[in-house]
Structures are given as structure tokens and as C-alpha cells.
Symmetry: C2
Subunit: 435 residues, 2 copies
């Protein structure tokens, strides 16, 4: 029988898994440093919880699960695997009306999308989300932005930029050029600016039958140099009341994010930033690593309407999601992750069947003392034991032959330097604590 | 719109989630202390990978996932959620023939079963598995048993027993009473001994039309007092060659497990122990917490045939699985888990909009210094800020009013004792490091 993984799925062998755990742990520590609390939600949700939240494309890419029992035979599905971590959070908020707000939670967990698998895109991938629900304060928007920037810094990135915009600015922009209701089409065209250039975008807009005047007014807005407050100053006279409201909030978010420690050169107001998800209502932002140019590694924004879709109660919310897979890919390419060590610090070899119980006792002693210790289980040939230890990357070997047993000592070999020392077993924990 | 969780699924709110993370982290540390390495496998597998491995019941309880695109409309399923962590491991071994053996891996992750939800039984639950693949040595069986016993000890359990048996003893037992091929039915009856007593079991066996002589011979075996080597000594003359082979292995496993540190009173040979899963071939064991009597909290055994089901290559393997859900339930009931603390050590309050930037700067300073710090985001009413801090269970409050700002200090209040002290902000990291 040929054996395969499911399409678009991956195994993580120990070396990879250690690196993933290391990255996750660093992000988690930053989330906790900002006072976010862990939340767990199930892998699957009722279908009706997820549908209609991500747009048509999202609905199509949901993995549906067959009903148990008779439902399976009829092909009926009543559940789906979660598509992101935000909608499950909104469901939790709707189901727990007594929960104290603001609620700051993080969740680092896999999500599933039935995307066509391709290089770097998988059907199971991890998201690292931090969200603040229950306050409209721009303090919360700024904190989400700051926690993402801090996490990227903590992972070792020093060449990224967070682009910041507001949904109301985008909507206002389309309104003032007289094309209300065509927001999506126009923004899709504008979003291609990096790829097809200014002329390409203009051509697309003309194809959409925008008037020359509308296109000109649009460029007047888009051409405003990206920066900080000066970008907002230049934007303000060109937009209507809704846009001005967005600008006022962005002024505060920007100022607060800087005060929270985001370096000035890591943040920029970008009126062209249009994040895809249907549920955003206010500020949106996206972090891009510039060198190498790998695109977005984190993004977030305010979604004040989402919780209300589940219950009568509106709960304003804002959050950020770090794309773990892309971050890890880049960190591996750039050598930002150290060589992964084995779990074990020491490996206890076995001289012969007769002396085995001494090796077992030594391993037990070291483990009890808190030293991560592997014990050779499978062979009495020393050559094979050393090969195994070497392949596993365990730094220290422990040898107990007849002479060690007679003198009550063990021999410790540093596999890298080749140095050996013989010490009483009782001294080994102290010896390892200095390594 | 009414909003619900999927049936049999749970959310873990922060307090619960912290306790779960704590238990998982303790188990993980024990696995690593024994030199096991982390492995990650996807939530879903091809259907053919999972079916036929767990018996008919298992096949029925698998959650099937609809094919994407046209497959969804036709109700076709090509994947299923993993049912345990052992079969995915066997698939990984079959797909990676170059992997160095023995391969010691652990995996702590959810599995999914379409069980009828009931008290304490969920459709998504965590397993904590440690397995050793690639050696037939009883050292590996003993190590799996020892790592489970050590983990239970580490979690604070001091009143459990690991029952140990061998599949070959069970088979031999049925053979010598002349009922070969009726192993499953007989073992199901015997397994009820605790519930329906000796007479009940005898009645069931009679209903199965076992002869009086066969039943008598069976009781002669089952009546052997459970113990260590003496149990095996008494068992030996009553079984055939296959049973004797099982006994020889159990002698070694028992001796090694004791040498590895499993206390003698925590392990017992029990010829009636019959673990359900189809794939076990050699020693099997199960850990039960005795007080309170909650049944099995961990179990494992040898499954030398499973990897061969995926590829021509046979890879002997043995493993153990800890039932996280039951462990946590009991630990909570027995008060074995401390009160969960909030992520944050300190919460920075905000006196007014005018002083807000000082509070933001103080939070930033503390976070940069590694102090987990929450910042009030949502209100300027001190009363509400204190209520929030109290509900969140954050131990220390930080206050920066006009007088603190003037003198460049902060006031730290210990919410529990009510004690306050005013110190320069720069001294706060050192102050917190002593807490």
C-alpha cells in the first residue's frame, strides 16, 4: 500500500518541530508581556457560525465535516474546520455575555483552508492572534499594532514596516470621486500598484469606466507621500466627513503606537492599504518584511460589527494575526533560527547485557536530578551506540564499563571536543548544571 | 441568531486554558527528560490511512471531511480527522524509511472522535503520547511505562497503579482452555469482573456456551493473585509456549521498569488486563488512579505490526498515551492545580487623558524590562479600572497621577495586602524581580 499525507498537509519532524516551538514560544511570551490571556476554541465549528463571515471565497474554502451516523451516508455536513481564529473569538464573546470587557486574548493554533496547495501555501497552517474586545479606544488598536511590531522585533526582524490605514478612508476616497459602491473593484485595481505600476492601474480603472476626472482625483489622493502625521494632514482636505473621522482615529493610533515603542521608521500611513477580510470596520494595518521582500507577515484591524452578527449585543474589537508559516520560512532562509538541539543533554550507553542495570540506574539518577537523558535501548555494539548518539545530536555521552562500575564512577565524553572526564555519578548533576 | 458550539466541543477560557497549559508543559518536560523528541502531524489524514486500524467502532467514529469543489456537492469524503496519534506516527515511519531508529517521539495534540457526547466525554480531546519505534527490546517497553509513571508522579499523583499484561498471555489463556478464536468475547466478559463480580462473569461465560471445565481452567488463571514475579511464576505452568514467551518478556519489562524508578507498589502484573485497540501485539499496560477511583488515565503497549500495514517494512514499536482530559478533571476536583494567575504581573492605570502618555510610557518601560504588564485601555474612571484589575486577578497596580509625574515616580500597590510604595520608574524592574 502506497502511503501519503493528505494533500496540502505537512509533518513536522523533530528538528523542524523544535524550531516551530521556539518561534511560537517567543511570540507567546510577547503576547503575555502585553497582558493577553490564552484562549482555546475547538478545531471545528457549526457551519452556520463560519459561513458569511469571510466573503464568498472564504465560504468556498471551508473544510466541511460530514454528520455522524446516517448523515454521513447522505453526504450532509453540519460542521466545518475553523478558517481563522477571529470568528471563533467572536462566537465566544457572543456566547459569554457576562465576560468582563475588555477581553484581551491570544490564540496560537492551526486553521484550515481548502486552498489549492502550492509552494509555501498549505491547507493546515498556524495563526498567532492577539485581540482586544470590548473597547473602541484607539489605545486598543495601537496596542495590537505594537504587540505585532514587538513580536517581529523579538523574532529578530529589524527591517519591516507596518502600513496603517482606515476602512473609512478607503470608503471616503471612493465616495469623493463619485464612485460609491464600487469600492471593491477600485481597491483591487489600486492594490496592484506595486505589480503593474501607475499606468497599469489607470488602464484598469478606465476599463471599469471611471471618468478621467474621477481617476485624476483618485491619483491626487494616492500620490500623497506615505509618512506619518503629514500624510494625514495632506489627506484631510481631500476626503469627506467619514474619511476625516478615520483620519482623526489614525492620528491617535499612530501617536500611541509610537509611544508604545514602535520605532518611527517601522510605521507608515498608507492610504492604499486595503485588507481583504469583509469584517474590518476601522483602522487596518499590515506588517511587511522589506528585505527579503516576502510580503505581509502580519495583519490586523478593527472589526466592530462581527460579534453583533452572532448576538444582539455589539462588542467592538480589534486584533492582529501573525503568519507563523511565512515567518518561519523566512527565518529559516535567513538563518535566524539556531541549530535545533536534541531534547537530551546526555546519552547513557550500555556496555553489555550484564552491566545494563547500572546504565539504567545511572539514567534514572540523572533524570531524577533534572538532566534530560536518553538511554541506549537497542544495541550492545558500542560503535552503533556512538553512531546513534551522533545522529541524534546529543552533546554528551556517558559510559559505564566494568572499570567505572568497580570504582563507582561514570565517564562523560563531550562528543564535540572529544574530551573525557571520569567523575562519581553523584557529581554528574552538578557537572551538567555548569554546561 | 442563536449561537452555539459544535456538539461535543468545548471552549477553554483563559483560567482553564492556563491550567491546561501548565499540565501539558509538565508532561512535556518529563517526555523530554527521557529524551523523547517532538513530532507534529496534520489534523487530517487520508481516509485510507486511518480506516481498518482501530476496529469497526473506530471506523464508525471517524470524522470525515468533504472533498473540496465538486466533491462537496456529491458528498464524497477523502480525508478524516485523526482518531489518535499512533496511526499518524506509523504513517510517518512508513513514509520516512531513512529515519534513524530507534525513533523516540512525543506528541501532545487533539484527536477527534464522533462519540455520543456525555459527561466527561468530548468529540475533541487531547492525547499526550510518547512512543519508541524501531526496537523490540523490552528496554523500550519499560521506558514507556516508566515515562508514564514519572509523568503521573510529576503531576502530583501518588496513588495510582500500572497494570501490566501481554497480548500473548491473553491469547494463550484462551487457547489453553480450548476456546481459540473467541478471545474478544471472553475478554469482554472477564473485563467486567470489577463491575459484575465473579458470579456475573461466570454466568456470561456460560451464556457463551463455554464448558464448565473451560470456565474452571480460566478461573484458575484469573484467580492468581496480582503481584510481580510471583504472579508470572504461578502463571507459567498454566499457559502454552506463546504465553510463556509473553511471560519471559514481562519479567524483563517489570524488572527494568522498577530499575527505571517506577515504585514497586505502583506496578502489578494483571493477567486480566485486555486493552481494546486492535493493533497491540506484545506487552500492554494501563495506569489507574485508585483514589478517587476514576479508572484509566494512561495506557499503552507494543504494536509491532502497525507500521508494516503501510509499507513492506516492519518497524516494531511501543508507546504510551496519557489521557489529558481525565487527568485535568481529576486534578481540578482534587485541588491539585493552583489558582491560575493572570498573564500580567502589573496593571498600569491611567489617571486622565492628559496623563495617558505617561502611563503608556511606563507600560512600555516595564514590558521592555520583561515585566508582563497590562495597560488600562478603556476608561478614565479609577473605580472601573480597579474593578477591572481585580476581576483580572492581576497582583500589582501601578499609578501615575500628577504628583507622581512631577516627581518622576510611580506608585505600586499590592492589591492583596493593600500596601503601597512610591519608587522611581527605573527601579520598578528590580522591584518586580524580587516578587
Amino acid at each position: 500500500m502506497a502511503v501519503h499525507l493528505a494533500k496540502g498537509a505537512r509533518d513536522f519532524l523533530p528538528a523542524t518541530m523544535r524550531r516551530r516551538k521556539e518561534v511560537i514560544s517567543r511570540i507567546e511570551k510577547v503576547f503575555e508581556r502585553f497582558g493577553f490571556e490564552p484562549l482555546g476554541t475547538p478545531a471545528f465549528e457549526r457551519i452556520e457560525t463560519l459561513t458569511g463571515k469571510y466573503g464568498d471565497e472564504g465560504d468556498k474554502l471551508m473544510f466541511r465535516i460530514l454528520k455522524r451516523g446516517r448523515g454521513a451516508a447522505s453526504g450532509q455536513a453540519d460542521m466545518a474546520l475553523r478558517y481563522d481564529l477571529t470568528v471563533p473569538l467572536a462566537r465566544v464573546l457572543a456566547m459569554n455575555p457576562g465576560m468582563r470587557l475588555p477581553f484581551k486574548r491570544y490564540q496560537i493554533a492551526p486553521v484550515w483552508r481548502a486552498d489549492r496547495p502550492q509552494r509555501g501555501r498549505f491547507r493546515e497552517f498556524y495563526q498567532c492572534d492577539a485581540d482586544i474586545a470590548g473597547t473602541e479606544s484607539p489605545m486598543a488598536d495601537a496596542e495590537c499594532l505594537a504587540v505585532a511590531a514587538t513580536a517581529l522585533g523579538e523574532l529578530g526582524f529589524d527591517n519591516f514596516v507596518v502600513r496603517l490605514n482606515d476602512r473609512r478612508i478607503l470608503r471616503s476616497m471612493v465616495q469623493v470621486i463619485g464612485e460609491e459602491g464600487r469600492e471593491v473593484g477600485i481597491l483591487v485595481a489600486v492594490d496592484k500598484l506595486d505589480k503593474i505600476g501607475r499606468d497599469g492601474v489607470t488602464a484598469e480603472l478606465k476599463k471599469m469606466e471611471l471618468s478621467d476626472e474621477a481617476i485624476e482625483r483618485l491619483w491626487a489622493i494616492l500620490d500623497i507621500p506615505r509618512g506619518h502625521a503629514e500624510t494625514l494632514d495632506a489627506l484631510q482636505p481631500l476626503l469627506n466627513a467619514e474619511g476625516v473621522a478615520g483620519i482623526a482615529v489614525l492620528r491617535e493610533v499612530l501617536e500611541l503606537a509610537l509611544a508604545m515603542g514602535v520605532p518611527a521608521e517601522r510605521i507608515v500611513i498608507d492610504p492604499t492599504l486595503a485588507r481583504g477580510l469583509d469584517y474590518y470596520t476601522g483602522p487596518v494595518f499590515e506588517a511587511e518584511v522589506l528585505e527579503p521582500h516576502i510580503g505581509s507577515v502580519a495583519g490586523g484591524g478593527r472589526y466592530d460589527g462581527l460579534v453583533g452578527m452572532f448576538s444582539g449585543r455589539e462588542v467592538p474589537a480589534v486584533g492582529v494575526s501573525l503568519g507563523l508559516e511565512r515567518l518561519i520560512t523566512v527565518m529559516e532562509e535567513l538563518g535566524m533560527l539556531g541549530a535545533e538541539n536534541a531534547s537530551a543533554t546526555a546519552i547513557v550507553t550500555v556496555y553489555s547485557e550484564e552491566t545494563r542495570s547500572h546504565s539504567v540506574a545511572a539514567a534514572r539518577y540523572l533524570r531524577d536530578a533534572g538532566v534530560n537523558t536518553e538511554l541506549i535501548l537497542h544495541t550492545y555494539k558500542l560503535k552503533n551506540q556512538l553512531k546513534y548518539a551522533n545522529a541524534r545530536g546529543i552533546p554528551y555521552g556517558i559510559f559505564l564499563g566494568p572499570s567505572e562500575i568497580e570504582t563507582g564512577t561514570i565517564t562523560i565524553r563531550d562528543f564535540q571536543s572529544g574530551e573525557q572526564s571520569s567523575i562519581p555519578l553523584e557529581d554528574a548533576p552538578a557537572w551538567f548544571s555548569t554546561k
